[in-house]
């Protein structure tokens, strides 16, 4: 400042001008960065939607019900009449079953593990379980798929039944995959609760289990719900790990031990051996678009949950 005051007036003005310029440029740069995030999201939705509806347009256009509510997947010309059929219902049901079952397996265990960490044995939990959970959130899905393929599939084949490649194997692999993230988010939710909740309940003479069941879990309920929904979104979009163990047969699973296919597994496998722009390829894009819509739906749901929670706190 002192040097600025001593220097000739032009130099001082120049300094101020530079400051203003850098201020403006800086602000412009960070605003552009933030804008790029919106741009990428919009581009993503636009392009996937544009390709996703391609199958419903043009000379060989399919009808929506022919694709969404049709269980016959025969993209190559078949049978006497030689008409291909592009029903994706099997895959949609497969995806919903795998992710639903995975959440069913993972959520109770994840919430129990979180309660174990925060309420029952904080020492053991903070020292071993939490770091392990955080590390396992980062384990690549192909590694889960690989272990599922080399350990779980033979185990099911030998001790439970069926071929091993099954709905059961797929949902267990996905459950293991989403469990760590549900658990760590639930730990955060439980930790964010004011201590007075627990103290009040215990002071009234409630046991620890009563406190957990009637005070802590309900109070953290929305955030636990958000954690589970995020897990569901991740389960729905998981591709390779599921593809490796589910068997990829084109059929509704008749039991847990039967194989099936999911939207992601078919997209993964068929995208490389179909011609870009062909009807078959376009239907794969319809599946991608469907997956995108389901994810957006879950994102909106999660934001709703977060919104009500904030209002509740206020």
């Amino acid at each position: 400042m002192a040097t600025a005051a001593n220097s000739p007036p032009d130099a001082r003005n120049l300094g101020v001008f530079r400051k203003l310029l850098s201020e403006g440029l800086g602000r412009f740069f960070v605003t552009v960065c933030a804008g790029i995030i919106i741009l990428i999201t919009l581009l993503m939705i636009f392009f996937v939607a544009y390709k996703g509806i391609a199958a419903f347009r043009g000379p060989e256009a399919l009808s929506v019900s022919e694709v969404l509510f049709n269980a016959t997947w025969a993209p190559w010309p078949t049978g006497m009449d030689g008409q291909p059929s592009f029903g994706i219902l099997i895959f949609l049901v497969g995806s919903l079953l795998v992710s639903g079952l995975a959440v069913l397996f993972a959520a109770p265990l994840a919430v129990a593990a979180a309660i174990f960490t925060t309420e029952i044995a904080p020492h053991l939990g903070e020292r071993y379980l939490r770091p392990a959970l955080e590390m396992f959130t980062g384990v690549p899905s192909v590694v889960y798929g690989w272990v599922g393929l080399t350990v779980l599939v033979p185990f099911i084949r030998n001790y439970v039944g069926g071929l091993g490649f099954s709905l059961l194997a797929g949902s267990i692999v996905v459950a293991v995959m989403i469990l760590p993230s549900i658990a760590t988010l639930t730990i955060d939710a439980l930790k964010a609760l004011p201590n007075s909740f627990k103290e009040g309940s215990l002071a009234l003479g409630a046991t620890r289990w009563q406190t957990i069941r009637h005070v802590l879990v309900p109070a953290a309920g929305l955030r636990i719900g958000t954690a589970i929904t995020l897990g569901l979104a991740r389960a729905l979009g998981e591709a390779l790990a599921v593809q490796m163990v589910i068997g990829n047969s084109i059929q509704f699973p008749r039991s847990l031990l039967h194989g099936t296919s999911t939207l992601t597994s078919i997209m993964t496998m068929d995208m490389s051996n179909t011609l870009f722009g062909s009807l078959w390829n376009n239907v794969l894009w319809t599946m991608a678009f469907l997956l995108l819509c389901l994810t957006l739906l879950l994102v909106v749901l999660i934001r709703r949950m977060g919104g009500t929670q904030k209002r509740g706190v206020r």
Binding site: I115, V139, V142, V143, T150, T268, A288, T295, V299
Partner: protein, 306 residues
């Protein structure tokens, strides 16, 4: 009579409490055991391949004894390429959200976009990359296309990490700088960002561990092949150079998936186990690095406030 009933209920509650405690212990210990078994299994199975030869030599075709050298190189190089774009962008967006954003439509749109991007299935991101970078922009299956697909996954994470790191800086530090006559931008560049840097770095390292093992987004962007390149050629513009961003590059995670689905290698199980173990160890290393950095920051900041 009434006392009897109260006593019975108390006893029931105590028993339920004990049972629940036992159940929680069972869940916690089951998970710890499961995790140890998982890591132990992969490391013991992959042990026979955890040597320098395996991680430096190229894979063999329909023949035993191939390595994963190029794939490992590609994974790291792709990570670096993508961070080169996503770190400046992410930090910029984080600065915007932490320092400039006011409650407005725009801010809402940014947050909604962040939420959407971070929960999009990576296979959909990969297909978007296939459409836009591989086909429309004509980059083909290449490192550049792959890096752009990873960017879509990285960007929301880095933005969030930077925003959090910047917001957690005590207001007094900023106010001190502003009181000395620095402009808002000067304060951000010279005071706020240096203070937030360790936090951002630790978040980026943690995320890198996750990106390192990404496969679904790369199948159709970086491609499923790794043509031979000349590792002595360091000119990034030369077609034969490993640094050329427009060459196809299969990463380690993609390779694990591919060898399994092709089933052409006679020693596919050994290669898969070895490659999975390498992937697991890398993720572990990234985690430990981020964790120790985090602990270092905690020590430094708690020392400063005392």
């Amino acid at each position: 009579m009434a006392l009897q009933r109260v006593k019975r209920r108390l006893k029931a509650a105590t028993i339920a409490d004990r049972l629940a405690t036992g159940m929680f212990y069972a869940a916690g210990i089951l998970l710890i055991v499961l995790f140890i078994a998982f890591v132990g299994y992969l490391l013991s199975k992959g042990m026979s391949r955890l040597n320098l030869q395996f991680i430096t030599t190229a894979p063999k075709f329909m023949e035993e004894g191939g390595g994963i050298g190029p794939q490992l190189f590609n994974s790291f190089y792709l990570l670096i390429l993508s961070l080169m774009v996503s770190v400046p962008l992410g930090i910029g967006a984080g600065v915007y959200l932490a320092e400039y954003a006011k409650p407005s439509r725009l801010t809402d749109a940014i947050r909604m976009s962040l939420d959407t991007l971070s929960s999009l299935p990576s296979i959909v991101i990969g297909l978007f990359g296939l459409l836009v970078f591989v086909n429309y922009l004509g980059w083909g299956f290449s490192l550049a296309s792959g890096a752009m697909a990873l960017l879509v996954i990285n960007l929301p994470v880095i933005t969030r990490v930077s925003e959090q790191a910047i917001s957690s800086i005590p207001g007094s530090i900023k106010e001190g700088s502003l009181a000395l006559g620095a402009t808002h931008w000067q304060t951000i560049v010279r005071v706020v960002l240096p203070a937030a840097l360790p936090g951002i770095l630790s978040g980026v390292i943690l995320m890198s561990g996750r990106i390192f093992g990404e496969a679904a987004a790369l199948l159709y962007t970086a491609g499923m092949s790794s043509p031979p390149v000349d590792y002595t050629n360091w000119n990034p513009l030369h077609f034969n150079s490993p640094l050329n961003p427009f060459r196809p590059a299969e990463t380690l995670a993609v390779y694990i998936w591919k060898v399994n689905s092709e089933g052409l290698l006679p020693d596919v199980t050994e290669v898969g186990n070895g490659a999975s173990a390498v992937l697991l160890l890398t993720v572990l290393a990234f985690n430990i690095l981020a964790r120790s950095l985090g602990r270092f920051i905690q020590k430094k900041t708690s020392g400063a406030t005392h």
